[in-house]
Symmetry: C2
Subunit: 198 residues, 2 copies
């Protein structure tokens, strides 16, 4: 049997707990607006204890963004390979992004604001994953609308991300139960229009 020590068992939890707290703080005040002390305090430990779990503030951010972009990308790939056709894939991609935006608003916020503060080794990898995620969308859209130039599809995809990721800004306006179909409908309509324009 793989011996699972309590330390091994707990370590992941602690790390996850820290990452979650940090995401909330980063989203609210920005990377440089949050101190190591703040993050520690948010999980009940104090300042330098963080260094038992992460090699530094930068590494913490890197791991956070790497994790988000991998998860998004993986979900997209999973959805694309298991859907019967492009129309269903697009639908599923919308659901993936909407779920993420509604359930992890802080992560989404940090994800598209703080890439500039990630140091170079990780930065490239995150960018790569983001690019692959976008390409997943563009590929599906291209299948559905072969006549539309890729540049336009890419621009439309970014615009749709902006629409879907607006959730953090309009928090509380509408219950998630209503927000979800609203976003889906709006995004679908926006995509249709983008592709038929002119």
């Amino acid at each position: 049997m793989s011996t699972v020590s309590p330390s091994t068992r707990n370590r992941g939890n602690r790390r996850a707990e820290i990452l979650e707290a940090a995401a909330g703080l980063f989203a609210a005040r920005g990377f440089h607006g949050v101190s190591i002390e703040d993050i520690g305090g948010a999980v009940g430990i104090s300042g330098p204890a963080l260094y038992r779990h992460f090699s530094g503030k930068d590494a913490l951010l890197s791991e956070m963004l790497l994790d988000v972009s991998s998860r998004l990308r993986e979900s997209a790939v999973a959805v694309a390979t298991s859907s019967p056709g492009p129309a269903e894939t697009l639908d599923a991609l919308l659901n993936v992004q909407i779920t993420f935006a509604i359930e992890q608003p802080a992560l989404i916020t940090v994800h598209d604001r703080e890439l500039g503060n990630v140091p170079e080794p990780a930065r490239r990898q995150i960018r790569r994953l983001q690019r692959l995620y976008v390409e997943e969308w563009v590929t599906v859209l291209a299948e559905l609308h072969p006549a539309c130039p890729a540049a336009r599809l890419r621009a439309a995809t970014h615009a749709v991300f902006g629409l879907l990721n607006s959730t953090p800004h309009s928090a509380g306006e509408l219950p998630a139960q209503d927000m979800r179909p609203l976003l889906h409908t709006m995004a679908r309509a926006a995509i249709e229009a983008s592709v038929n324009a002119r």
Copy 2:
């Protein structure tokens, strides 16, 4: 005659120059990621010289956001009072926001990220202007679709802002000449859909 000294004549220019440079830096690295030295350096003067023009870093940010939100709000009011009907008003509001997003991406970015770093006196005022701007949109949408609950219209408005403000993220994907009608079309379609849903 009102005596206009050269100092008076130049002061505004210098201040505007500083505000513009600061907006770019804040958009790229976040408020706390930019130093007074950085801002000064960007306009060819060095660090503490900024205090001849602004009482501090906070005041600089306050003025920047106050200016943006007033301008948006004023444009919206102007457009609303001069349009023949709600359909034309909505169209004009779209154009206002699109123009702003395309021509001043840095300001738009700072505007919806850094409110949290504005100290209290100004913060309330900026929030007020932002709220009034949103209400301008909601009012027009309500005229066009009286059956739709206001909460949904408000959520849809925020989503459309997210869509339109995505420009900074997809910079360079498409020339502004193509981006403009694309955004207009997508936003219009999204609004229609939001209001007809269910």
